[in-house]
């Protein structure tokens, strides 16, 4: 069993992971199992989260280390690297700058492959921990939610796979972004095909009081030719306790790290869900490792 993309997971399969994440307990179910970590680009946080999850289940990890110190630097193909590392580990976690890399790896090894981000492509464990957070902290029935997704909707892969996953639960969606950073055509087409109810707006004011969750992502400076234009736009998509004053009990999520799109004054309010969201990476990854490595499921 590989975890390559939430796109090819059914709603039932996603719920199996979310249910298991709820019940999985620290213990020794993966004692003697070794997880191989292949991070071809740095993502310390994701790596730590997988390591923590594996160790809490009694397993261990081997880490390829940085690309600079490995054979990859000498021009080894990914296909060769994974075939070698398969001999050291029972399952592989791969993060790689190219889209489709985890799928390719899965074709060359028998060990289960978990995609921890492939370029601008998929990052299924992030999507699953986002769904888990909404389900545990907001409402058990994801289909009853109204979720606002705000920020860079054009380039943000987190946002694309989260939206398409929520669409499978029939979650009502509102997309909030400047016109330059609207959803790309292919994602919009897929949402239309799914039959989910969604709308696209430029201002959060009109929708925020109806939202259960506001998922905020970062608007990057590089997307704008002019600094002043960036400043103006980024400013109007910032969230603070002031801007949410009349917003009911909307919960704010963010994949972190944030820079200044969420004011720290929101941290101690009921709105803030982002730190709990980050912590949920561990039980969700424990559930996935347990299922993939045969502890259960």
């Amino acid at each position: 069993m590989d975890i390559l993309s939430t796109k090819e997971m059914t709603r039932k399969e996603m719920l199996e992971v979310l249910d298991h994440a709820r019940s999985v307990e620290q213990g020794t179910s993966l004692s003697g199992e070794v997880l191989g970590l292949l991070f071809f680009e740095p993502s310390t946080r994701t790596k730590m989260s997988f390591t923590s999850a594996m160790k809490r289940l009694g397993g261990d990890v081997v880490d390829m280390g940085s690309v600079e110190s490995s054979s990859v630097k000498k021009g080894e193909t990914l296909a060769d690297t994974v075939r070698v590392v398969e001999g050291y580990a029972d399952a592989l976690v791969i993060r790689h700058p190219r889209e489709g890399s985890a799928r390719l790896a899965s074709e060359f090894v028998d060990a289960p492959v978990i995609n921890a981000g492939d370029g601008a492509g998929q990052h299924p464990t992030q999507t699953l921990l986002d769904l888990y957070t909404m389900r545990e902290e907001v409402d058990e029935d994801l289909g009853s939610l109204h979720v606002g997704v705000m920020g860079d909707l054009k380039y943000g892969r987190t946002v694309h796979s989260l939206s398409l996953a929520l669409a499978k639960f029939d979650t009502r969606l509102s997309f909030v972004s400047p016109s330059e950073l609207r959803l790309p055509e292919n994602v919009r087409r897929e949402l239309e095909g799914s039959g989910v109810e969604f709308r696209e707006v430029e201002d959060v004011e009109g929708v925020v009081d109806d939202l259960d969750v506001l998922y905020v992502t970062r608007i990057q400076k590089e997307r704008f030719p002019e600094e002043r234009e960036y400043e103006r736009i980024a400013h109007s998509y910032r969230v603070s306790s002031d801007s949410l004053e009349d917003a009911g009990d909307v919960r704010v999520m963010h994949p972190l790290p944030r820079v200044d799109e969420i004011d720290p004054d929101l941290d101690d309010t009921e709105h803030a869900l982002y730190f709990r969201q980050a912590h949920n990476g561990v039980p969700v990854r424990m559930a996935i490792l347990d299922m993939v490595l045969g502890g259960s499921g």
């Binding site: 296909a79 190219r98 489709g100 370029g119 601008a120 492509g121």
Partner: protein, 150 residues
């Protein structure tokens, strides 16, 4: 009239009933260019009872492969392939829409893993509406399929 234009060949492949205007794309799919030494004949805008007008391509001395006919099916779904041996049509079939196209096409996404020097063939899924989607990176081919032949 048609019979005159399409002179019988001894060995090779005749691709008939190509949608009018698509013959040049078919040639591209077959890899026919200035370096080709096979005898290749093209008839365009031939009148056809079934199609009104059609194109026909004939390649002598060569039997085309299934990957090529799969791609031809995408641009000319009504095309028929006639394999000729010793002046006899030994095989005749209508091309059929494949589920997947392996090799031949290049993914236009520069950061797709199939463009990263890995030992794999490209693979594209053919969706119900005929759209081609990279099995690795999900990129959809937006232009004519002949544009992506490597």
């Amino acid at each position: 009239m048609e019979e005159l234009r399409i002179r019988p060949i001894r060995d090779g492949t005749v691709i008939d009933h190509i949608e009018r205007g698509r013959a040049l794309e078919v040639l591209k799919i077959l890899g026919v260019d200035s370096s080709t030494r096979d005898v290749v004949s093209v008839a365009m805008n031939v009148s056809s009872e079934k199609m009104g007008a059609k194109d026909v391509v004939k390649v002598e001395g060569r039997e085309i492969g299934s990957t090529e006919t799969d791609i031809i099916a995408l641009i000319a779904p009504e095309a028929t392939v006639n394999v000729v041996r010793e002046y006899e049509v030994t095989e005749k079939y209508v091309v059929s829409m494949p589920d997947e196209i392996t090799g031949v096409l290049t993914c236009p996404n520069p950061s797709c893993i199939t463009n990263g020097g890995e030992p794999v063939e490209t693979s594209f899924e053919v969706e119900d509406d005929g759209e081609l989607r990279c099995s690795y990176c999900d990129e959809v081919l937006e232009d004519e399929v002949a544009e992506y032949i490597s």
